[in-house]
Subunit: 279 residues, 2 copies
């Protein structure tokens, strides 16, 4: 029986971790844009990203974090990197080991890799077949840009979704195969508003923001100081997520109203930079 | 007695974690450039970055990771974010709690904050005094750009160094106060070379890279596929770190020689993009 993405049931909760495999990030050679892309996507799909973690390509380091994710019984683990043909590409091997699942050539993934190299007139070397090896039970994700397939693996409370580290491949696979499923599973609506306040220092606004945050614990309100001392600018991110869309919109509206009122009181000016929502 | 940075003894080992406090990163609102900056700096100062971790501004999440860092007896923990005046700025409070140290107004930090706001003609509100509260025993780091001081705290096996999340402040404080100490403590020399190979696919190069990596376990060799299928480009990062500079240079030279030889054999061409070292 071939498992399909369409038949999969939702994870038991909306909490997610992102683990990026890559010593190239830990040596600062590569900016981790994959994490930002995935964090933005997951957040707006209604999932709560609780950790972004960059780990070395070594079992004693990375395996420990995969194990912790399992023990915490979270809904989603998205990994990037470590699916390629070289010695340090060992993500799926590590996942197999942590879960005590055999690592084996997945027939569907093998077909994907075979077709990719046949088209280029290249033979199937060990290094290329390696990219089709997955934990038993994994569903491969087609890579429309490069060679290495991704994989989705059901575990007790959710899914481990493994994508390549090359950003163009990771994004294409996320958008074509992963995003539609996560959207279907999602239980939460999300909205974000960005306000830009000029003429008030962050520390002057702080007591008001603190009181508003206390009143609305379901909204995440973050102030980002910009500008200079003589011309202070504070960018405010208001992020709310709720099962109930009307409730979420009401929270955002009330938070904004309170911030506008505080800014008026403090003699600053405010501009709405636009928002984004998942509805 | 006022503790000073100059009198501090080296950590017991060169292993480092970076923990970024910030739900704005977990919602993908902010690209985590702080981690990349610090990872690059630490690596070239001769430290081994074993984890980059982004955590929510909540004790049950972030406190757990600080606790793990302590249990692993690592040399350095650099934190960014959570030093400001708002409700979610709680990094030093969390560190105090994990270490069971009182959180108290640090007299030196208080002076820094006081002078900063006096110069702006502003009063010392609770939210501003909060920025001077540190775990007992912490040494404050002057912030040449903004209000919130950083802190350096000696723990059993090393140091927790806490910097603000605003990149310009974080960078200025790292470069002025932290980098000189880390350089003084450093036991390792570091070198990196970047090669660009055209005309060979990553998977064709892979068996050679795998063999070279096996022969030189002290060098980290990472291939990054770029370019397109018709015109493959592979960027190779060779990173080596050693207590012995001559040995490190010899390793890099030998790895390069082997890669040049493989590229010749495979009919590709190679270009050296230049390197960077800590010597």
């Amino acid at each position: 029986m071939i498992l399909t993405l369409e038949g999969l049931q939702p994870p038991s909760n909306s909490n997610a971790w992102i683990i990026n495999f890559g010593s190239e990030i830990l040596t600062g050679f590569t900016q981790n844009t994959n994490a930002t892309f995935l964090a933005r996507k997951l957040s707006f799909l209604g999932y709560y990203v609780k950790r972004i973690m960059v780990v070395p390509d070594a079992y004693e380091e990375a395996g420990e974090e995969i194990q912790r994710w399992i023990e915490k019984k979270l809904g989603l683990l998205i990994t990037t990197g470590g699916l390629g043909p070289t010695y340090d590409d060992s993500t799926l091997e590590m996942i197999s080991k942590v879960l005590s699942l055999p690592l084996e050539v997945n027939p569907e993934a093998f077909e994907m890799v075979k077709i990719y190299y046949e088209r280029l007139g290249e033979s199937l070397t060990d290094e290329r077949v390696k990219m089709a090896k997955m934990p038993n039970g994994a569903i491969p994700i087609r890579n429309p840009v490069g060679a290495a397939p991704g994989s989705i693996l059901r575990v007790e409370t959710g899914y481990i979704i493994s994508l390549p580290g090359v950003p163009s491949e990771m994004r294409a696979m996320f958008e074509s195969a992963v995003e539609p499923i996560l959207a279907r599973w999602s239980k939460n609506k999300v909205s974000e508003e960005i306000l830009e306040i000029t003429g008030i220092m962050e520390s002057s606004l702080a007591p008001y923001i603190n009181a508003i945050a206390k009143e609305f614990p379901n909204a995440y309100i973050k102030t980002h100081p910009k500008g200079t001392e003589g011309n202070p600018i504070v960018v405010v991110q208001i992020f709310a997520s709720s099962k109930n869309e009307a409730e979420m919109n009401a929270i955002i509206a009330k938070v904004k109203e309170k911030i506008f009122s505080a800014v008026n009181k403090l003699g600053g000016s405010i501009e709405q930079e636009g928002g984004k929502g998942s509805t």
